[in-house]
């Protein structure tokens, strides 16, 4: 495996926005403990703008760092702009991810989309959210 970037290690060691938001406007939980990663993302939306985001993650170093980064990225964005955040953008903001850990950034994107989807549903608005294609985990070795 390639090494984690210092940015990844920073976000892993001191993750931003850890926690829950009581009565969140949107919550998304994605992943599967069997595969080793579960992310839950909470958002608070005010006037079409994401005013707060928090997460809880069960997973590896990259999973925690991407969760931290994606919550950083969405705060202050309109929901339309938030929808445009791709996994590549999350990975890039972290200074890159090891190839075998790219799926963590996909999971972060999924968690965000899932939270936004939940927001639309709660609002009763038809959801424009398209979930990214499930890439699956690249299983190294065996």
């Amino acid at each position: 495996m390639e090494q984690y970037s210092s940015k990844v290690m920073e976000h892993f060691a001191h993750p931003h926005n850890v926690g829950e938001i009581e009565n969140a406007d949107g919550v998304g939980t994605v992943g599967n403990p069997v595969c080793g990663d579960v992310m839950r993302l909470y958002i608070k939306v005010d006037n079409n703008t994401i005013t707060d985001a928090k997460f809880k993650t069960f997973g590896c170093g990259a999973a925690i760092a991407t969760s931290s980064m994606v919550t950083d990225l969405v705060k202050g964005k309109t929901i339309d702009d938030a929808l445009k955040i791709s996994n590549a953008a999350v990975a890039e903001a972290l200074g890159g991810l090891p190839k075998v850990k790219m799926h963590c950034s996909v999971l972060a994107e999924e968690a965000l989309k899932s939270a936004l989807d939940d927001y639309y549903k709660k609002k009763g608005i038809p959801s424009p959210v398209k979930m990214p294609a499930e890439t699956g985990h690249e299983h190294e070795g065996e």
Binding site: P33, V34, E140
Partner: protein, 394 residues
């Protein structure tokens, strides 16, 4: 900061006396053992001395020891070499499901080449039942391979019992003793095996030197061909310094053997008991008693192994998550899944293996640092959140 290396199942440092023994063979005594002149002779003698010392550690004759480059190579050599050289007897192989991949993958390769394979499941504690082996034997069975001790969960198998069965039936029996040689007594006569793998870097020898014991008279097909070295069984210029180092490590281990288990077992138990006391929702993998004296394999519910490993690393504590040899793999341990460990829990597994230099203070340092890490990760875990909430409800 204190540095506590608890990953001795992955590799050990070479003993200072091992390094000292190796040093002359890089430059002053650099000869190729195949050469007839004094420079070659000197190297040849050193290799043969190392062969005797390695043999002495496991109770074999020197000429039954074949040096290889790693435990992985020894296992490949044993499985493919024995099966290929004796296939006239039959084409059925029996292994346990908890073998190392360096046994399982060669077995898979043989399967593609027409061999039939039975993989016997272990108990919840990782034990292979000799009766299961017995039942699996057919007229076609040519080879049984069951590891002596499991490198992940530490369970020690009833090899002597299995050896009795295979001997009675005249079937070849190989044991992968890479995880146990140097840590607990291993004697090929007492175990009744025909072949046994060991690896130097697993017990304070150098990387690059390992061995396969093959009982005299047992036929084995060379896998690295084209050299007269190792009695024509394994070609390639001998890694003289590393072989000398392996010999020295074997000598040291033989002398220190009584001491090793006696001093490691209480430390292992201190670590496990301390963790149990401090961390809820945690359990031991493998057999509670029939286990390697330096092996602690525990699963922490609701947290993931790599993140624990990385936080421990920041505290100067070095451990493995899941399998010692495949911790770069995302796939969780096949051993844990074979013994029925829940997949999510398996993802929260740490393997801590002590060494001869581990002190009670080291253990206490881990007991101080690890519980808060688990706690912190649980506070970030959605799985734990769900559990807490559901507990509150009931």
């Amino acid at each position: 900061m204190r540095k506590v290396y608890l990953d001795h199942a992955a590799t050990t440092p070479a003993h200072p006396k091992v390094v000292e023994a190796m040093m002359p063979f890089f430059t002053a005594k650099f000869g190729n053992p195949s050469n007839l002149h004094d420079v070659g002779r000197e190297a040849k003698n050193a290799v043969e001395e190392a062969r005797s010392k390695t043999a002495a550690l496991i109770g074999s004759k020197p000429e039954e020891i074949f040096f290889t480059s790693s435990g992985t190579e020894s296992n490949n050599f044993a499985i493919k070499g024995l099966a290929q050289a004796n296939s006239q007897k039959g084409k059925h192989i029996i292994v346990s499901q908890v073998e190392h991949f360096s046994v399982l993958h060669p077995v898979k390769t043989l399967e593609k080449a027409g061999f039939a394979v039975t993989a016997v499941p272990p108990s919840r504690e990782g034990l292979v039942d000799p009766a299961h082996i017995s039942k699996a034997i057919t007229k076609e069975t040519v080879l049984v391979s069951v590891m002596h001790a499991n490198n992940e969960i530490g369970t020690i198998q009833p090899i002597a019992e299995i050896g009795k069965i295979t001997r009675e039936k005249g079937i070849l029996f190989h044991t992968d003793a890479v995880a146990s040689v140097g840590w607990i007594p291993v004697d090929v006569q007492a175990l009744g095996v025909d072949a046994l793998s060991l690896s130097g870097h697993q017990f304070y020898g150098p990387k690059g030197a390992a061995a396969l014991y093959v009982r005299k008279g047992v036929r084995i097909k060379p896998q690295i061909e084209g050299g007269v070295q190792e009695d024509g069984r394994r070609g390639g210029t001998e890694n003289v310094p590393a072989i000398v180092g392996l010999g020295k490590a074997a000598e040291i281990a033989a002398a220190d053997m009584g001491n090793r288990a006696a001093s490691l077992t209480p430390l292992r138990d201190r670590l496990l008991a301390g963790l149990k006391q401090r961390v809820p929702d945690m359990f031991l993998n493998g057999h509670p008693e029939r286990r390697l004296p330096h092996n602690v394999n525990v699963s922490f519910l609701y947290v993931e192994g790599e993140s624990m490993l990385l936080f421990l690393n920041m505290e100067g504590i070095y451990v493995s998550s899941g399998s010692a040899c495949t911790s770069r793999s995302l796939k969780s341990s096949h051993v844990l899944s074979c013994i029925g460990t829940d997949a999510a829990a398996a993802n929260g597994t740490l393997l801590m293996t002590l060494g001869t230099g581990t002190s009670a203070e080291d253990v206490d340092y881990v007991l101080e640092k690890l519980p808060p890490i688990v706690e912190r990760l649980r506070s970030m875990s959605p799985l734990y959140e769900d559990v807490v909430k559901s507990r509150k409800k009931t």
